[in-house]
């Protein structure tokens, strides 16, 4: 019994450490090589430097691609979050014809292989005669992000007691006031989560973007294209920066919620 317990005591942590290390190696590699004093390709270690971090935009293409990715991510996130939130509220709160069908269809973009979605959209843009570029990428990203927003926000809406909105109306709130003062603040955590997810998905997307971008470059597309001739260290800088930014955001939200919980406990 005790020997079994002893085995469990070190086996599980050891396994966890191995798994984590395995997951962290590519990230660590990317981060370390962002300090490489590389010339053309960033494969061989040529010495430590801060240059790449300080002058990221020396490599203009990287910066431009990154800028495009941000523009696309922000715009698509805003569009998808607004549309998706409205759809989610409608699906939970109202009964209408084809409601069940719409619920089901919204899952399709999540279930369909991205290659199919990307190729299909590209064909559509071609027949419609739309020139591929920033706009078509934003449209494509909005399309698949909406599904994720609907799913995330819907979960939040269905936990919202309809009596709260009724109470708002009963207490002389017009439909507009009830939405902005009661419904929206209560849905906000779900909406924020949905927006972050959308941005992450959009920023990260390669396949659909590749089919619908024309000559416009995004960060993932740039990395893919340049992988053939060696990714510049500047790309590592941006990737590492995004990674640490995400970690910092998570830490901030964790710490602030812990503080809030402590304060609540103190009062009660």
């Amino acid at each position: 019994m005790s020997s079994k317990l002893g085995l469990g005591k070190w086996l599980l942590p050891a396994y966890a450490i191995v798994a984590l290390t395995f997951l962290m190696i590519p990230i660590a590699y990317t981060f370390i090589f962002s300090f490489n004093n590389s010339v053309k390709s960033n494969i061989v270690w040529r010495g430590f430097t801060f240059d790449k971090w300080l002058n990221v935009c020396n490599q203009q293409e990287v910066c431009e691609a990154f800028g495009n990715s941000i523009i696309i991510g922000v715009t698509a996130t805003i569009c998808a979050t607004i549309l998706g939130t409205m759809i989610a509220i409608a699906l939970v709160r109202y009964r209408f014809r084809f409601r069940a069908a719409i619920s089901l269809l919204l899952f399709l973009p999540m279930a369909t292989p991205e290659v199919v979605l990307g190729a299909g959209l590209a064909a559509e843009f071609l027949t419609a005669g739309v020139e591929k570029g920033l706009v078509t990428i934003i449209i494509a990203h909005t399309m698949f992000c909406v599904s994720f927003v609907v799913v995330t926000v819907k979960a939040r809406v269905s936990t919202l007691d309809p009596a709260l909105e009724e109470a708002g109306r009963d207490l002389y709130g017009s439909p507009n006031q009830v939405f902005w003062r009661i419904t929206f603040p209560l849905l906000l955590p779900g909406i924020i989560a949905a927006a972050l997810l959308s941005f992450a998905l959009s920023f990260d997307d390669f396949i659909i973007t590749y089919f619908n971008s024309g000559t416009t470059s995004t960060f993932p597309k740039y990395v893919y294209v340049s992988a053939a001739r060696g990714i510049p260290a500047e790309a590592n800088v941006i990737a590492s920066a995004v990674f640490f930014l995400a970690i910092i955001l998570v830490l901030i939200s964790q710490v602030s919620s812990a503080i809030r919980r402590k304060r609540l406990e103190k009062v009660s």
């Binding site: 007691d161 709260l164 009724e166 109470a167 708002g168 109306r169 009963d170 207490l171 002389y172 209560l186």
Partner: protein, 399 residues
């Protein structure tokens, strides 16, 4: 729209020919109801009887299929909830979780641009003795405190009409008693018209001036609590408000002030003015606490009805009183409540007893006698419990 000013006083509520249909079922068949200003009115009924729907129609949260809602003589049927001078205390309280207690209470005042919302909100919180918790969030309060915040949030608006949708349902018994008294005194203090929906007959009787008993989307009987209890007009009211012993028989004779009914060969007299029907097959009743238990046959005398002999089949002690259930051959089960004036039961299980009651205490119902079982429905909880007990005992004997 109701902006900038409070209602002068409570207003009367009038429902005219209300019908409410939902897809698939009718919640309210036909409802006419007038509630005078300043009264404490209770709508009492079992779940699914349409009482909450009635409340929601008044608040404007539902639209009637047919009929009109008038508040203070003004037709508000077409007005939205936020345009009506009506406030509701919801069953789940529906306090806004993202606002402090103070902001919850001030919400209605702010929407109507009433001067000094914070001061008035504090005042309302003082009325329910919760001003010291004004800065807290609702989830940091106990159930009873939340209930009082919900009440403060509604009455701070001085609505013409305050609707209470089973607001005490989630509280434990002791707290509920306390809140009943508090609600009643607040109503007297602020002088608003209260419409209270509940399925708890005791709550309705202790709090309301007028009680309407609802069943299957219609009002069965309306009146003062005592009147409803002493003189129920239908079997539903007789059994929903407390317990009743009901007997069915033919009217055999009548004098100027009483009718006599033949119950399996026994003549039972009921005052004419306490009977709804005076001829043919009628159902009459008497409350269990009005019955006297006798161990020997009581002397026949005018003004007293006697039934018996019967055998006691169950005795259950409940502190203040003891409940006896006896079976009288040919007539069925009769429930008797005896005050525990002496210690110990008056009669033991199995003993032979008679029951008597003053003629003045009987009542006659308006219902058509139901076909099938002639006597008191045997689906009340006491009977079911007893059937279970007997089934269990015979099972044990067999084993």
């Amino acid at each position: 729209m109701a902006t900038g000013a409070f209602a002068e006083s409570g207003a009367d509520l009038e429902l005219v020919g209300i019908q409410k249909r939902f897809p698939g079922f009718t919640a309210i068949e036909h409802l006419d109801l007038t509630i005078p200003a300043g009264s404490f009115f209770a709508l009492l009924g079992p779940s699914g009887c349409g009482k909450t729907t009635t409340l929601r129609l008044v608040a404007g949260l539902e639209d009637p299929t047919e009929g009109k809602v008038l508040i203070g003589g003004k037709d508000v049927t077409k007005l939205k909830p936020y345009q009506r001078q009506v406030n509701t205390v919801f069953q789940s309280y529906a306090l806004f979780p993202h606002m402090t207690v103070l902001e919850n209470v001030a919400f209605g005042l702010r929407r109507r641009h009433i001067a000094d919302p914070v001061g008035k909100a504090h005042e309302a919180l003082r009325l329910v003795e919760l001003d010291h918790l004004a800065a807290r969030k609702p989830q940091q309060l106990s159930g009873g405190q939340q209930q009082r915040v919900a009440l403060a949030r509604a009455i701070v608006n001085r609505p013409a009409l305050l609707l209470l949708d089973e607001p005490l349902g989630a509280l434990d018994l002791k707290l509920r008693r306390q809140m009943q008294l508090e609600l009643k005194s607040i109503q007297e203090e602020v002088g608003l018209t209260f419409v209270h929906v509940t399925h708890d007959q005791e709550e309705a009787m202790t709090m309301a001036d007028t009680v309407a008993v609802m069943n299957k989307g219609e009002i069965e009987q309306l009146g003062a609590p005592q009147e409803l209890y002493e003189l129920p007009k239908t079997a539903f009211v007789a059994n929903f408000l407390g317990q009743s012993n009901l007997f069915t028989g033919k009217v055999t004779g009548s004098t100027s002030n009483s009718i006599s009914v033949d119950i399996e060969g026994v003549k039972i007299v009921v005052p004419t003015k306490r009977a709804q029907r005076h001829a043919g097959e009628v159902t009459i009743g008497v409350r269990p606490e009005k019955l006297h238990l006798h161990l020997s046959a009581p002397k026949q005398s005018a003004g007293v009805n006697v039934l018996g002999p019967g055998r006691i089949i169950d005795v259950s002690f409940s502190g203040v009183s003891t409940q006896y259930i006896l079976a009288i051959p040919g007539i069925g089960k009769v429930t008797v409540f005896e005050q525990n004036m002496k210690s110990g039961p008056v009669a033991a299980e199995g003993s032979e007893v008679w029951v008597s009651w003053d003629v003045e205490h009987g009542f006659g119902l308006a219902d058509e006698p139901a076909p099938g079982p002639k006597f008191a429905a045997d689906t009340d909880t006491a009977t079911i419990a007893m059937q279970k007990k007997h089934a269990l005992m015979s099972e044990l004997e067999e084993a």
